[in-house]
């Protein structure tokens, strides 16, 4: 009898040797005459356990990890089934606390199925959302999305249903659905995992969007830093075309476009410029993309997670989705635990879990074993939080109330060796590197910010220079067209406010260090 092994093909698993493990498994099984089949899946998102190998048994799948290629002979030494007492045995993956505590909706299939098997996808509920949408008709499909309370997962948290309604109401010869898979925020990888682990779910979500608003063409803009995702998603589109899920019969087509290393192209209007073949410069609004977007046509532009969540909402109903969450943040959020963290990975949960639970309990504190000092939430434009604010619940409004943002759901943990003045400097530097150049406060202000923080780091007139940085932040906040220039003050000011001791350096102190 052939035993199935599951080895992730997710880039983060490959980056720590998953391919070598797959090869070793095949060779060792061959040597021992054991019949095995290796299925390459996405990742479950327990990255400290990658490469995590799963084996099919009569009692379900059993996980082992982290498995190195050199562990493979030992794993198979006793033949099959592998003993549950093996030191790398993790038991049933669903019972691992990190997974058990999650509510997997958007990520239900990720890490479970072969991402390029339409049969697997259908067997696990794929396609049911689109079927239900077709039976409801466009207007009721749209109403479902609105009633679910789904808000954009790309950062701004705008209600998805309202955006779709605007495009549905617009009349034009053509309309477009654009998926924003630029995922430039440090600490985030949810889009990447879905592209590599459940690509048909995005295709289904986009097809539903096209059906709801009357668009026949979609674009997926994937950043060039994700070659694996580009490859896998491209193959999925090809398979979907062969299957009839996409193409003339389905009334919907998807084209993949690849970014070129510009963070600002994640901003929706810069992204549209980029697809049109121009520099990624931000457009002034209005007009909104929903009125005049790609090639001047009404366009839905949504983050990948937003679109990939839609099939579940249609399949299970708006109320089911809205029953999760708190306040005006309905449903679940794929939170990404990253940086100096012991148990880093993807944690999908209903809104409301606190920052402290996420970092200390679920993430298990730092990887270095030192105390957690600061966490940056929401990418390079997000604020740094001190431990004192760890009671903040994961919720759009709660983070705004504390001068922060949840952004795309990334949390980057730093231990007590972090120098917050350097982090503030980096925020300014990143803005200077990535500015699209349209607004002076963003383009020039950020460079002045770097110079001024450099003086603070050297201990030159700290107090006066700090005041200068605060003024610069005010100018950037109110004089920038988009959130790159407008939100860079968040990490800078939060670092200054919560960690003032790192900025009040005297030349004597600096010399002593």
């Amino acid at each position: 009898m052939t035993t199935r092994f599951f080895v992730p093909r997710d880039a983060a698993a490959r980056a720590v040797g998953a391919d070598k493990v797959a090869i070793a498994l095949r060779e060792e099984a061959g040597r021992r005459g054991i019949e095995i089949e290796i299925v390459r899946t996405g990742s479950r998102g327990l990255f400290w356990l990658e490469p995590m190998v799963e084996v099919e048994t009569p009692a379900g799948r059993i996980a082992f990890g982290p498995v190195a290629a050199r562990d493979v002979p030992g794993l198979l030494a006793g033949g099959l089934p592998i003993g549950l007492r093996h030191p790398l045995c993790l038991g049933r993956p669903e019972d691992i606390p990190f997974l058990k505590r999650q509510t997997r909706i958007t990520f239900a299939r990720c890490g479970v199925v072969d991402p390029l098997s339409l049969a697997d996808w259908r067997a696990q509920g794929g396609g049911r959302g689109l079927d239900r949408a077709r039976s409801l008709g466009p207007a009721k499909t749209l109403a479902e999305v609105t009633r679910s309370g789904l808000r954009g997962r790309g950062g701004a948290g705008f209600p998805t249903g309202i955006k779709w309604q605007t495009v549905a109401d617009a009349s034009a010869d053509r309309k477009y659905i654009v998926c924003n898979a630029d995922e430039g925020d440090s600490g985030t990888f949810a889009d990447r995992m879905l592209l590599e682990g459940d690509p048909f779910a995005l295709i289904e979500g986009m097809a539903i969007a096209g059906f709801a608003v009357g668009a026949a063409k979609g674009f997926v803009y994937i950043r060039s830093e994700y070659p694996d995702a580009i490859r896998i998603f491209g193959r999925a589109v090809h398979l979907a075309e062969g299957d009839g899920l996409l193409g003339a019969g389905a009334g919907f087509d998807i084209e993949v476009r690849v970014g070129a290393g510009a963070y600002v192209c994640g901003e929706e209007t810069a992204l549209l410029e980029s697809i049109e073949g121009r520099r990624g410069q931000v457009r002034a609004k209005p007009p909104l993309p929903a009125h005049r977007g790609l090639f001047g046509r009404p366009t839905i532009i949504n983050n990948l997670v937003s679109l990939t969540t839609v099939p579940w909402i249609l399949a299970e109903g708006a109320e089911a989705y809205a029953s999760f969450g708190m306040g005006r943040s309905r449903g679940t959020m794929p939170i990404q635990l990253a940086g100096n963290i012991r148990q880093g990975g993807l944690f999908e949960a209903a809104f409301g879990v606190t920052l402290g639970e996420l970092v200390d309990e679920i993430g298990g504190g730092t990887r270095s074993g030192r105390p957690v000092r600061a966490v940056q939430v929401g990418g390079p434009l997000g604020a740094y939080f001190p431990r004192a604010l760890f009671d903040t619940p994961f919720d759009y409004e709660a983070f705004t109330a504390r001068d922060g943002l949840i952004g795309h759901g990334g949390i980057v943990v730093f231990d007590d060796t972090v120098d917050m003045a350097r982090q503030a400097r980096f925020a300014m530097e990143f803005c200077a590197i990535e500015s699209c150049g349209k607004c002076t406060p963003c383009r020039i202000g950020s460079t002045r910010g770097v110079e001024t923080i450099d003086k603070i780091i050297r201990g030159e007139r700290s107090a006066a220079n700090l005041e200068l940085v605060e003024d610069l932040c005010q100018t950037m906040k109110f004089g920038s067209l988009c959130a790159l220039g407008g939100f860079t003050p968040y990490p800078v000011m939060s670092a200054i406010r919560h960690f003032p001791e790192d900025f009040l350096r005297s030349p004597v102190n600096v010399a002593a260090q």
Binding site: R14, S186, F189, G280, Q336
Partner: protein, 155 residues
């Protein structure tokens, strides 16, 4: 991959994207894949082929960090410099790698073996610090990885 400009090859690349609207980026990506960089003659060539100005083509090539104006080394190592990698001492590791090859960011070794470039997040942030060598992801880098990378690029 040859680094010599070849108009016939470029013409073929442009033709492949005939049906696309706004095809400049996909064309530039393919040109760079073919030649290893975007050679100077590509600018007037694309301006003519796509019926846009040279300034527009040049503006696009210079706007995007990915497009190179000079050939890269035989291997390209991208090191992540974004926050999650910083939190795991990625900057110190990057420094050691640059020193090992006596390079600065964006530089290529005199023997043309390797180019080291900065990148800002590879989506491997739960396994920091990370890098990409010739398009292949690498994570949880440590001092041993430096030797491993050095071995890889000497091949």
């Amino acid at each position: 991959m040859s680094s010599r400009w070849n108009e016939a090859e470029a013409t073929e690349i442009v033709r492949r994207h005939d049906v696309r609207e706004g095809a400049l980026l996909p064309i530039l990506h393919d040109l760079q894949a073919a030649f290893g960089y975007v050679p100077e003659p590509a600018i007037p060539f694309l301006a003519h082929a796509l019926n846009i100005t040279r300034a527009e083509v040049h503006g696009v090539v210079s706007f995007y960090h990915d497009f190179r104006r000079e050939p890269a080394g035989r291997h390209v190592l991208k090191l992540c410099r974004a926050e999650a990698c910083q939190s795991m001492d990625g900057e110190a590791l990057a420094r050691r790698l640059l020193d090992r090859f006596v390079l600065d960011w964006g530089g290529t070794t005199p023997d043309g073996r390797v180019t080291i470039e900065a990148t800002y997040c590879l989506g491997l942030c739960a396994s920091a610090p990370s890098a990409m060598l010739d398009g292949e992801p690498m994570a949880r880098l440590n001092d041993e990885s430096i030797d491993e990378i050095a071995r890889e690029v000497s091949r």
